[in-house]
């Protein structure tokens, strides 16, 4: 059964990635949104290089939060609409583990691409060498937390018509610790400080949400279906 749980995990992961691949045009939208939000800032605050540089970590991370929110619904929405979620809930495997597969797929689709474009945007906002490195590391550890916590929110709201707005209200307060430590790490790196503490805390947040978030998400999914 252990073997077959792993198999179910990979089947589900493969399926979600394949579905995204078949729908690549749509899947790229959150990434474009991310880039666009960041590009808007210089227009909004003016082309002052020092100001932009100081704002860069916060701007990039807030944009990451917004784009995560935009793509979160895709974790469960279409499966809820076409009844696949029922099959998932009624499968003999642990629902939490299956939820984790879907969250992992979501991160690969929506979180991972941010890692690729973030350095370019960092340069664009005037960030330099080492702080860009730290930015990428914070995104690497931090974006999975966004997907994990977000999954709870989506699972709670997937059955609702006006779920989107409520989703933002539910998940943003929970995102604040990630935002704080991630942006602080980049700022400290910019000032030339050690960032081990911030990265450790981000890693702790990641492991904690990895261990705990699938449970309420699974419970919420069962609730949403009943």
């Amino acid at each position: 059964m252990n073997h077959s749980l792993t198999q179910a995990f990979w089947t589900l992961l493969r399926r979600d990635l394949l579905l995204t691949y078949r729908n690549r045009a749509q899947a790229i939208n959150p990434l474009l949104f991310f880039v666009l939000v960041i590009v808007l800032f210089p227009f909004g605050v003016g082309p002052d290089a020092t100001l932009l540089k100081a704002m860069a970590p916060g701007v990039i991370w807030v944009a990451a939060l917004l784009s995560a929110l935009l793509s979160l619904e895709s974790i469960f929405r279409s499966d809820f609409d076409d009844g696949f979620l029922e099959q998932l809930v009624l499968s003999p495997h642990s629902l939490s583990a299956l939820v984790l597969a879907k969250v992992f797929a979501h991160w690969m689709i929506s979180g991972f691409p941010l890692l690729v474009v973030a350095p370019l945007l960092g340069v664009f906002l005037g960030m330099q060498g080492e702080s860009i490195e730290v930015l990428v590391i914070t995104l690497l550890i931090g974006t999975p937390v966004l997907s994990l916590i977000g999954a709870i929110g989506v699972a709670l709201t997937v059955g609702l018509r006006q779920g989107g707005v409520i989703l933002a209200l539910l998940v943003f307060p929970l995102y604040i610790p990630v935002l704080i430590f991630a942006t602080n790490a980049v700022q400290m790196a910019e000032s030339g400080f050690s960032v081990t503490a911030q990265l450790s805390i981000l890693a702790a947040l990641f492991l904690l949400s990895l261990a705990l978030a699938p449970l309420p998400a699974a419970a919420a999914l069962k609730m949403s279906l009943s």
Binding site: S191, T196, Q198, S200, A203, A204, L207, L208, L212
Partner: protein, 145 residues
């Protein structure tokens, strides 16, 4: 049935391992020496950043508050009982701002080593007592000294 139990056990072990990892990382973070505020001594010794704004905390030195001119500009010295730095601020000071009071100030150092404050916040302590009690405490303290 047995396999189900095995699978569940495996998941629980993985969960506990992840939580323990999280605790380990958190403890690691606590052990790091975090320096996000600057005392007056650190500022004077040049440990504070030169280009960036930072927060500076200390006590207002008694008799150091000077108001040159009619405006809202004020100069005062801040101390941590080891060294002191001059602060320059333009704006309305909070009610609790007085000599001997602890304050927190945001700003940056200029070339002359004067701290140009953008914001001055008075920190009130968490003691609450009637003035007479405060007075008697003070006398008791001075007698003890």
């Amino acid at each position: 049935m047995k396999t189900i139990r095995k699978q569940r056990l495996f998941l629980i072990i993985a969960m506990v391992a992840a939580i323990m990892g999280a605790v380990a990382f958190a403890l690691n973070a606590f052990n790091e020496n975090l320096m996000y505020f600057y005392s007056v001594t650190e500022t004077v010794n040049g440990k504070a950043p030169e280009q960036q704004a930072f927060r500076l905390g200390g006590m207002v030195v008694k008799g150091s508050v000077k108001r040159p001119g009619e405006g809202l500009t004020v100069f005062f010295d801040l101390t941590d009982y080891q060294s002191s730095v001059t602060v320059n601020y333009t704006g309305i000071l909070p009610d609790l701002f007085r000599e001997g009071q602890g304050i927190i100030s945001t700003g940056r150092l200029n070339e002359k080593g004067v701290f140009i404050a953008d914001e001055v916040l008075a920190k009130h302590d968490e003691n609450y007592m009637p003035p007479e009690v405060a007075e008697s405490l003070k006398t008791a303290k001075s007698q003890a000294d």
